[in-house]
Amino acid sequence: MKDKNEGWVLKDISAGLVFLNENDEPIETSTPWYGYFENLDYVNVSAHTVEMDVLPSLDRHVSSARPAPRKNIKPK
């Protein structure tokens, strides 16, 4: 039936079964796809160089480190 076929199509779309990843496998997603399709404005493809995140605590530790105070050395 027409309604059943349309439902099958929508079910496939919502499951994201046909979107392919780098290895030509289906992209797995936990997010429903309906919102994208009904109200899609555009798709953006952007290139980036992968960065390694720096731990903020380590950053603070380095910036706040101070040299130990010098001892007063009396001249002989």
């Binding site: 979107f19 780098e22 899609l40 980036h48 160089t49 992968v50």
Partner: protein, 139 residues
């Protein structure tokens, strides 16, 4: 690592958004104007705990990656939010495959928004074409 374990890398995507309100709204306390939002995808970081995207490959710092993101509108009965939603769909190592994914999403959006005008035969033909898009057709 066991035989069934897949090699994959998690990524956190850094982005910023700017929204502004426009349009008239009535004196009704619940009323509001429409909003327009623009997004900027600024970078990608290796993420070990809560990734935005997972790539089915090993990636290292300084590798070049391509992020496919969808921008969509939302709203409620009081106002419309143009371009409010931003979702990062997938990360790719090759531009061709990232473009293929973008084309698939755009094609399905077009299909979804006009599929009542398709008959059963043309609908299935259209889906088959989208599903089997060769990589080089994205360019």
């Amino acid at each position: 690592m066991t035989k069934n374990q897949k090699i994959q890398t998690g990524f956190s995507v850094k982005s910023s958004s700017y929204s502004e309100e426009s349009g008239d709204h009535s004196d009704d306390e619940f009323s509001r104007g429409d909003t327009h939002t623009s997004h900027s995808v600024e970078g990608v970081v290796l993420a070990f705990d809560y990734p935005d995207c997972v790539g089915p490959f090993l990636a290292l710092s300084r590798d070049e990656m391509y992020i496919v993101s969808v921008i969509y509108s939302t709203g409620d009965s009081f106002g419309y939010d143009h371009g409010r939603g931003l979702e990062h769909v997938a990360v790719f190592k090759t531009l061709e495959k990232a473009n293929r994914c973008a084309r698939q999403i755009e094609a399905y959006a077009a299909l979804e928004n006009s599929y009542n005008s398709f008959d059963k035969k043309s609908l299935h033909k259209h889906i088959k074409e989208i599903s089997l898009l060769p990589t080089n057709s994205a360019n």
